[in-house]
Symmetry: C2
Subunit: 274 residues, 2 copies
Amino acid sequence: MILINGQAQDHIAVADRGLHYGDGLFETIAVYGGLPRLWERHWRRLSTGCRRLGIAQPDPEILWEEASHVCSGVDRGVLKIILTRGAGGRGYRPPQTGQATRIMATYPWPAYPEANWRQGVEVRICTTRLGRNSALAGMKHLNRLEQVLARSEWEAPHIAEGLMCDDDDHVIAGTMSNLFIVTAKGLLTPVLTACGVAGVMRSVILELAAELDITWQETQLRLEDLHCADEVFLTNALIGIWPVRCIEQRDYSVGSLTGLLGGRLQALLGAISE
Amino acid sequence: MILINGQAQDHIAVADRGLHYGDGLFETIAVYGGLPRLWERHWRRLSTGCRRLGIAQPDPEILWEEASHVCSGVDRGVLKIILTRGAGGRGYRPPQTGQATRIMATYPWPAYPEANWRQGVEVRICTTRLGRNSALAGMKHLNRLEQVLARSEWEAPHIAEGLMCDDDDHVIAGTMSNLFIVTAKGLLTPVLTACGVAGVMRSVILELAAELDITWQETQLRLEDLHCADEVFLTNALIGIWPVRCIEQRDYSVGSLTGLLGGRLQALLGAISE
């Protein structure tokens, strides 16, 4: 089901700036029992993105109503929200009195193998890089060609994700996930001030780590750090945590910290879904 | 008038990857006497972009037919072509058998003051930077949030354009134009291997310079180079050449090389329009 500004429709105006410039934001949200999961956090990120891009913030109550409407009856699925700056003339300059476009669409739950959670996933290193731009870093905006090109690099179904580096050889994230490693220094995850998306699940994991008194740090990581890591895992709003069992030539076992966080996360999300 | 895949329509499917990821390309083309100007060059850039992004190339004859159809009767205007990877499911991975979406729309000629050509324009330096990514550099793709943010930095109508630097303080381009400067070394324009759009008008100017035996070079430029330049001008497919008369505190006079190239360009474009 698709709603555009509250109306059941599946086409948007060609004049929309989302199409012309990727001038907007999106959220990918897990749906359980007819409800979008971790709604508050998704809303907060969307709202922060609006402020940073200067897009008119939608009314949170209207957004919630529309989201619950399209999710009702969806036992397990995905809600994608796209919020654009709305229609505009030709030219980069945003119109003075813009009306954001709200798009809500539900999708079936992706057919990820159960083994991804239990045995972990195989991951590759992408050659496509992430450009550095602090004005865009952290946001889930609609300029995603880098991820599209990175995800085009492989076909093999046994490879679940690809990691992307920036131009300075810092590892930043997977094409669709955030990265965590466990080393003697504790739990580490790439700092996202120059590129990458600050994932909703990433923030949940960092809070769980704090609650569990696990030392954690946002820091700059390189491929050598991954090579030396004891545990590696990926997160996003749909998958929660996937342990990594292999990055190209290097194998990892599903570690105890990954297991601990995974268990806590499951308890937390279970509680939310109940 | 708007054509989508040859049909008169003004809405596209929400599922289009142009909207979801900015997964596509565009061209902005001057229309004179019912015909798109410099068509071959625009087609060449679009076609190169398709190859680089792995988007199915449209049939050039169909594209030309559709373009001439929407331009017919437009004495002076703008044709915008958007070409996306087409519809696709959720997720970055491009579908195996994608059908590109062709969008053609005409717009009125922008109301630029005549003085922009004769007396030159005032230009500012934007604080929004351009991210560096060689995989995307040069293409006129749909990921344009950097330009949108840069163009949002000023309202003053007397400022015609803003220049953008990359993260390493190289000046790359205007938000909607390419940059040229004239120094003792000849005609210089920023190298576009890390970011920026390789403008159609930029390539025309470089060819005219070669014909006129003007020494020219693609090189890395910094703001100091602009400060020391004798002449500065901007180019794009609509404006041709705009001399720059002022960049923030520094004034320039419309120089002889700018005048020479402007004259030749006018002769060339006049010949094309006839």
